[in-house]
Each structure stands twice: as C-alpha cells, then as structure tokens.
C-alpha cells in the first residue's frame, strides 16, 4: 500500500465523514483495486449522497469493471446534481457511443465541448461521432475546440472515458482487420483525456487498433506506426545477441513525447505516445494496461 493511500485510509478511519474518500477511491481505482475503490466510494456516498464527483468516480469505477449500465446510471445521477458536469457528459457520451446510440452520444459530447472547450479529447470524440452520423466533421466548428495534438497532449488523466479517438472513418488497416471504428476506440477506456495515445500494430507494422491524431484532426496512426515499428526489430536483434531474454519494452523520450512500446501476442506491437509532462512511471503503467487489454482483444478477435 502506498504511503498516500495509507495516509488517506487513516484519515478516513479517523473521520468517516471526511471527503477524502473521493481521493482515496480514485487512487485505488488507478491502482486497479476496483472492489476496494467501489466499497470506499459507496460508503462515502452513504454519508454524502449529493456529492457529484463521488458519483462520477463510481461511474468510472463501473466503466473499469465493464459495467456500462451502472456507469450510465451514476453519470445520470451526476447530471441531476450538477447539470454542467463535464466528466458526466463526457462519460455518458462514451457509454452511449458504446451502446450505438450515436445521436445521444453526440448530444452529451457537444455539451461537454461547450463546457470544456480546451479538452481536445472531447473534440476528437465528437468529431468521430459526427462523422459516423454522417454529418460534416466541422458542422459546428464554432463550438469545437482544436483536436488532439499528436504527441503533446496535456495532463495526466483524471477520468477514463473518451480520450483520443479517431476522425477519419476509413483507416485502411483497421478496415482490413474488419474492426473499423470500434477498434480505433480500443484504448479509450484506458487512456486519459488526450494526454496519451496508443496504437496496436500487427506483425507487418500495420495498425489494427487505436488512433493517433494530429493537431488538424488527421489520424496518422499508420504513418507513425510505420516509422516507429522498426525500433522493435533493432530491439529484438540486440537482446538476441546479448542473451538478455525476451524483450519487454522499449521507451524513449523525445523532445515532444515519451514513446513506449511493448510486444503483444501474435507478433503484435503496442505503441504508446504520451506528453512529456506525464511522469515516466505513469507511462509505463499505462503501457502495461494497454498491452494486457490488447492481448485480450486479440484473443477475442482470433
């Protein structure tokens, strides 16, 4: 248990009415301790039933646990308590998108964009949904913030849902794998608010999932993947000659981003780019989570 979690737990034990349960629950969620996070948050809500951020946290825990309907209910509650809660609009947009309810998803994402015009991840999510609805991507550009900067996204994630989704509906590789837009959103739940982006490459270096957005809204995942996947070959060559065993990851820090890659099953490669402002340890943790998620997805696709 980290010192901070220990401290917050002690504080909560000393004062069960304390609001630190939100912070504690969030830390537990980020560590993947979902059951404990849920217990802490639920108990806190028994004392503070009108705490919108606590309901928002419970919704994100539910998303992590794959319980989208429960997440929906919690975010719905958040909006009844705080109608302009950006996280709730964003989260509901995500859940509704996953449920195929695109017009409703668009409505919530548009509301989130109105309240939070600087959040590039909302803008790209909105763009995707609008394209899928058949509307011009710039239909309401006056309301839309700029799209996700490719590799200088921003700040560490504070909420899970929509982060760096796609803009162009016909990326060749994902189409080839028959997965389309769903595949491009594969890592949305694991990434933050646009500060990180992830793509999954197959053995030929072709993108099978994820997206990599430029500032002007173009998905350049294939180009980035092609340029960076060659590093894997060099890494494999090095460890083979030096008897270092299997390679686990390669991470390099550039002027604008931290790039980290790791092998996934069936010769696939997970590539993660994060803003330099994100601590290296957090990037590693996200890489591990995305790699596991990708492996599970590949198994399901097989």
């Amino acid at each position: 248990m980290s010192d901070e979690i220990q401290r917050l737990s002690a504080e909560l034990a000393h004062d069960p009415a304390s609001l630190v349960f939100v912070q504690l629950g969030e830390m537990l969620r980020q560590r993947g301790q979902l059951d404990t996070a849920r217990k802490v948050t639920t108990r806190g809500l028994e004392r503070h039933p009108h705490h919108a951020d606590a309901h928002d946290l419970l919704a994100r825990i539910s998303v992590d646990a794959g319980e989208l309907e429960r997440a929906f209910d919690e975010w719905d509650t958040v909006l009844s308590l705080a109608g302009d809660h950006v996280g709730a609009h964003k989260g509901l947009g995500y859940v509704l998108f996953k449920q195929g309810k695109l017009p409703d998803a668009e409505r919530h994402l548009a509301a989130a964009a109105t309240h939070h015009p600087d959040d590039a991840s909302i803008a790209t999510a909105l763009r995707v949904v609008r394209q899928m609805l058949g509307a011009p991507a710039n239909a309401t550009d006056e309301q839309m913030p700029p799209t996700v900067p490719a590799a200088e996204p921003g700040r560490p994630p504070e909420s899970e849902p929509p982060s760096e989704p796609p803009s162009e509906p016909d990326l060749p590789a994902t189409e080839r794998h028959g997965t389309g837009d769903d595949a491009r959103l594969l890592f949305v739940e694991l990434l933050g608010d646009g500060a990180q982006t992830a793509i999954l490459l197959d053995g030929d270096g072709l993108v099978t999932a994820g997206a990599y957005m430029t500032e002007d809204g173009q998905d350049v995942a294939q180009e980035i993947g092609a340029e960076l996947s060659g590093v894997r070959d060099e890494a494999q060559r090095a460890i083979a000659h030096l008897d270092l065993g299997d390679w686990r990851s390669v991470t390099f820090e550039t002027e604008v981003a931290t790039v980290s890659m790791a092998p996934v099953s069936r010769d696939a490669l997970l590539l993660l780019a994060a803003a330099r402002s994100i601590p290296l340890g957090f990037v590693r943790r996200t890489l591990t989570r995305c790699t596991r998620h990708a492996a599970t997805w590949l198994e399901e696709e097989a």
Binding site: A150, A151, V231
Partner: protein, 115 residues
C-alpha cells in the same frame, strides 16, 4: 592514455547492477571508451546499442517527434540504456535490479559533456 570519459564511466559502473558503460560512435558502433565488468562482450553491446539508438533517433525524427533524449530497452534479464549527443552514444548495460532513475540522471548529465 586516459580518455576524457574514463572517470565518469567508472563512476557509472560502480552503481549497483550496472555491468558496463560505453561511449560509442552512433553511426559505426565503434567503442570510443568503455568500462565494463569481466564477461561483458563490449563490442557487441556497443554495436547493438548504437544501432538501436540510431534507429530510434531516425524513427522519432521521421515521425515528427524531435530528437531522442534517453532510451531504455527492458528485457527479461536486464536493461540497455542509451543517450546521445553529437554522433556519440553513451550506453549502459545493466541487470534488472539497477536503479534506473538514478542511472538515467547520471547518464544525461554525462551526455552533456559528450562531443
């Protein structure tokens, strides 16, 4: 003849878990200076690490990500760390137990003097 890097390389190798530290030409993988524990194939480490760093640098540039500052390869039995400047690459080969945060700081500091 002592190289200008010998003292710093020796200090790096004294850190726990560090097996070898080398200054290598990026384009040819030839050793400029090295301090290593016995049993380490320095020439192989030099050539492979320089090649890896070069590839990462070129790939990052092609992808529009700018210059590479620090690279780390993690494998089952150890790490290769590298940083470069002016066609030279500073390389460290370590065991898994090596404190990478501290090593990274020391390497970036030493890389400032590479030329």
């Amino acid at each position: 003849m002592r190289s200008p890097f010998e003292q710093q390389l020796t200090a790096l190798v004294r850190q726990p878990g560090v097996l070898a530290c080398l200054v290598v030409g990026e384009s040819d993988g030839i050793i400029v200076d090295t301090v290593a524990q016995s049993g380490v194939d320095e020439h192989a480490v030099a050539a492979l690490a320089a090649s890896l760093f070069r590839r990462a640098r070129l790939s990052a540039r092609a992808a529009g990500l700018g210059a590479v500052g620090f690279l780390e390869l993690e494998a089952e039995c150890g790490h290769i760390c590298a940083t470069g400047r002016d066609e030279l690459v500073l390389v460290a080969l370590t065991e898994l137990r090596a404190p990478l945060g501290r090593l990274r700081g020391s390497m970036l500091q030493l890389a400032e003097t590479l030329a």
